[in-house]
Symmetry: C2
Subunit: 201 residues, 2 copies
């Protein structure tokens, strides 16, 4: 028998294993037995901690959202210009991506499922709303302090986010000519220069 552990710990262990399996095989192809095997647990144990496969997946998304929210993306930059903070967040995200690609590679899976499952769509929407709000605040701040032109902050926030999502495509269909950092930097530069009030050049 496997070493007993408190539910709170075991659940997280299971969630991490599930992430790996879901990314590798996709939701439908992922077998409860695969997940269980990764950590040398039994199926019965899994069903002791989670009601169903769907429950597991939903909990996974929630857990994953919490982790993202907990991350100090912009930290230590309070006085700095918004553009700098946004650049920093973008680079930070790129690094995070390289360290934990699986955290991001679930996303296509989530999108695919969100397309047909209301609850999961709702969950994903919530996460994206949070991220969007974060960027919107930064942009509004930048406009207030005459760093940025008057723009539609919602639109720009969304552009930044989808731009970061481009990373997933980048990694999925790896081109060889340039690095993820260069790519992300360029994307951010285009957006930020585009909305900046020109005083250079």
């Amino acid at each position: 028998m496997t070493e007993r552990r408190p539910s709170s710990e075991r659940r997280i262990e299971i969630l991490e294993a599930a992430l790996n399996v879901f990314v590798k095989k996709g939701y439908s192809e992922a077998r409860m037995d695969d997940i269980v095997q990764e950590i040398g647990l039994s199926k019965g144990a899994l069903y002791h901690h989670f009601q169903s496969k769907r429950d597991l997946f939903i909990t996974l998304i929630e857990h994953w959202m919490d982790q993202f929210s907990a991350i100090e993306r912009g930290g230590k930059l309070h006085g700095k210009p918004s553009a700098e903070i946004i650049q920093h967040i973008a680079r930070f995200t790129a690094k995070l991506f390289q360290r934990n690609p699986n955290w991001f590679l679930v996303e296509p899976e989530i999108w695919a499922i969100a397309n047909r499952d209301k609850e999961i769509k709702e969950l994903a929407s919530q996460l994206y709303s949070r991220v969007l709000a974060e960027f919107e605040t930064l942009i509004k701040r930048g406009m207030k302090y005459k760093e940025f032109r008057q723009v539609n902050e919602k639109m720009i926030a969304m552009t930044i986010m989808t731009s970061l999502h481009g990373m997933i495509w980048f990694v999925l269909f790896k081109p060889t000519d340039f690095s993820l950092e260069e790519y992300v930097d360029l994307n951010m530069k285009l957006i930020l220069d585009g909305i900046a009030i020109q005083n250079e050049k």
Copy 2:
């Protein structure tokens, strides 16, 4: 019995039905019976035209690629500046998206599967390479005629493409404040202004 039709026609009919079902339910959840039911055909008939579910899906991707390739995106604009052509392609794509959302909404499904299936990944890569090449050519042309600064055309091409992919996200998690056209226009403007040789403003 259903009206008999030549294989070439029936195959396309099946592919179209399959696209709907794959988008609605996802590859794994899609049932061969669902597809067959959509057009009032029998399972035996389906297996007369396609060897397997996988075969059907791969053929679907190929068919889908052919359709995209066949589309005259940039047409009638031969003498115009590259920036204008790119803008035109982007708008055209947005319109196409609104008319045939399913053509685009399979993409997350394809990505998700590409992540675990080499052949499908290869197919998708091919399509994207083609599109990328198209943009690269336009950008090189723009650089040659001093319309654009000297930039890494591969990177910009990719930025344009992932930017267009943002549409999928847009539609999946519909925000209400602005239209797809506005969004695409803004994205293109940011990129194109960013690489333009300044002579306005």
